[in-house]
């Protein structure tokens, strides 16, 4: 029987961590782009668009991410479309992250005083101009800490994609355990790696919050 050193285990886990990081980045960036579109839809002047965005957000926030992954992976298969695990994982995570980011950002946009909308409207700006030059620059400041905080949820969310067979950190943990029969060591290391990814993000979210509050002192 082959002996595995700690380094063997760690090396394999770290190689898989790359995929956790890539998937997290794709989900976060893609989710941010879709989320921004959703945000505009959510506060649109047209009611039908607003209702659509609200339904989307409630649907994706109100169902488990795991179910969304299953549907993206197996659901399309029913129609004869073969979806590779990485694609299903990416799409599901992007759509899921978008629903949360849109709602976080909507809160930030609505935190901007009504007078800012009125003043910019009185100066003749259209809705998009108001958003672009007056509202978003102010909303972005307050949005940074919760957005960075949410990125931690995205990283932890990628662990679920192991169930549809995408080999990222968690899945690699299972594979390595099956080979080494050392579940405690392996999953302990997996947990430590997740912590090493997430902790700096939550910490920087806290620091940013404190910093931006100081800059915001007089408004």
């Amino acid at each position: 029987m082959t002996e595995f050193t700690l380094w063997d285990i760690l090396r394999n886990l770290l190689l898989a961590t790359r995929w956790t990081i890539v998937l997290s980045l794709v989900s976060f960036v893609g989710g941010g782009a879709v989320g921004l579109l959703l945000l505009f839809a959510r506060i649109s002047a047209r009611k039908a668009v607003r209702v659509f965005a609200r339904c989307y957000i409630e649907l994706f926030q109100g169902t488990p991410l795991l179910m969304q992954l299953f549907i993206a992976f197996f659901g399309l298969g029913l129609f004869g479309i073969a979806v590779p695990a990485w694609l299903a994982a990416g799409v599901a995570l992007i759509l899921w992250a978008a629903s949360f980011l849109a709602e976080i950002w909507r809160g930030c946009v609505e935190a901007i005083a009504k007078g800012q909308w009125e003043a910019s409207a009185s100066l003749g700006m259209g809705r998009l101009q108001q958003m672009r030059y007056v509202i978003l620059p102010q909303a972005m400041r307050i949005a940074i800490p919760p957005t960075v905080g949410f990125s931690v949820q995205v990283i932890k969310g990628t662990a679920l994609t192991s169930i549809i067979g995408f080999v990222e950190l968690s899945k690699a943990g299972t594979v390595v355990t099956n080979a080494t029969f050392q579940p405690f060591t392996v999953y302990g290391l997996v947990a430590l790696i997740y912590f090493a990814l997430c902790w700096p993000l939550s910490k920087s979210s806290q620091i940013l919050e404190r910093k931006l509050n100081v800059a915001h002192r007089n408004h």
Binding site: A113, G115, Q116, E118, A119, S120, A121, S122, L123, G124, M125, G126, R127, Q129, Y133, V134, P137, Q138, R141, R217, N218, H219
Partner: protein, 241 residues
């Protein structure tokens, strides 16, 4: 034709009718003070003129621009009337200069250089040329309100709406803002102001409108309205018996 024509304007918030058929024509260069108790509809009337509130009935036009509920008509209208608010509403993320430049470049597509020159000129006009690079939160309330005036003027409106522009100021800062308004009036700017500054209204305005329960209750030159109020409501409001 009058500059601002307000005809049979009605406005309801749900079942609550706030304006019950307002008629008011304003000639170019007139300075109109709108007075009345809170809840009489005076701020709502002002906000209807530039479309911040949509009217439920009647019509409003400013120099031929009709108030209609679509972006194009609203923009045309808002380029003709500027508005100044009780809470200043400066953009906190921009410098004083940036505040005055922004709408020129964004709305009128003015070149950056021209817009900056205009901003400096308008800030000089309100006595704040030296604050060009300061941020709004570094200014006093009176200074912020003067920047708001400069910001509105930079769009070269034909009329200005002033919504209780001194009500949020400390008493010692009221005078500097009123001095700027007085100067504008002297230069022939058409002004509609909701105000509680009775002395200012008496000195500067050409006509005073007293609103009561959503209607124009009395209207006339300040001498008449203040010295010889006709209705018991105005007498009570002015505290004369």
């Amino acid at each position: 034709m009058s500059l601002i024509e307000i005809t049979e304007v009605r406005k309801s918030f749900g079942p609550n009718e706030v304006l019950k058929g307002i008629n008011l024509d304003v000639e170019p260069g007139e300075v109109i003070a709108i007075i009345g108790k809170s809840g009489s509809g005076k701020s709502t009337l002002l906000r209807c003129i530039n479309g911040l509130e949509m009217i439920s009935g009647g019509s409003i036009s400013v120099a031929g621009a009709q108030l209609l509920d679509d972006q194009l008509h609203l923009k045309t209208l808002r380029l003709k009337v500027g508005m100044i608010f009780q809470q200043f509403n400066l953009f906190p993320h921009l410098t004083v200069g940036g505040n005055v430049i922004l709408s020129q470049t964004v709305v009128k597509k003015t070149a950056a250089k021209t817009a900056e020159a205009m901003a400096r000129k308008m800030l000089d006009r309100v006595g704040l040329g030296h604050k060009f690079d300061a941020y709004p939160d570094e200014l006093s309330g009176g200074q912020q309100q003067r920047v708001a005036i400069a910001r509105a003027l930079a769009m070269e409106p034909i009329a200005l709406l002033c919504d209780e522009i001194t009500s949020a100021l400390d008493p010692e800062l009221v005078a500097e803002v009123l001095a700027v308004v007085r100067e504008l009036a002297a230069e022939g700017m058409t002004l509609l102001m909701v105000t509680h500054e009775m002395k200012f209204a008496r000195d500067v305005c050409s006509r005073v409108v007293f609103m009561h329960q959503g209607r124009v209750h009395e209207i006339g030159p300040p001498g008449e309205v203040f010295s010889n109020p006709q209705t018991p409501e105005l007498k009570q409001f002015l505290g004369v018996h």
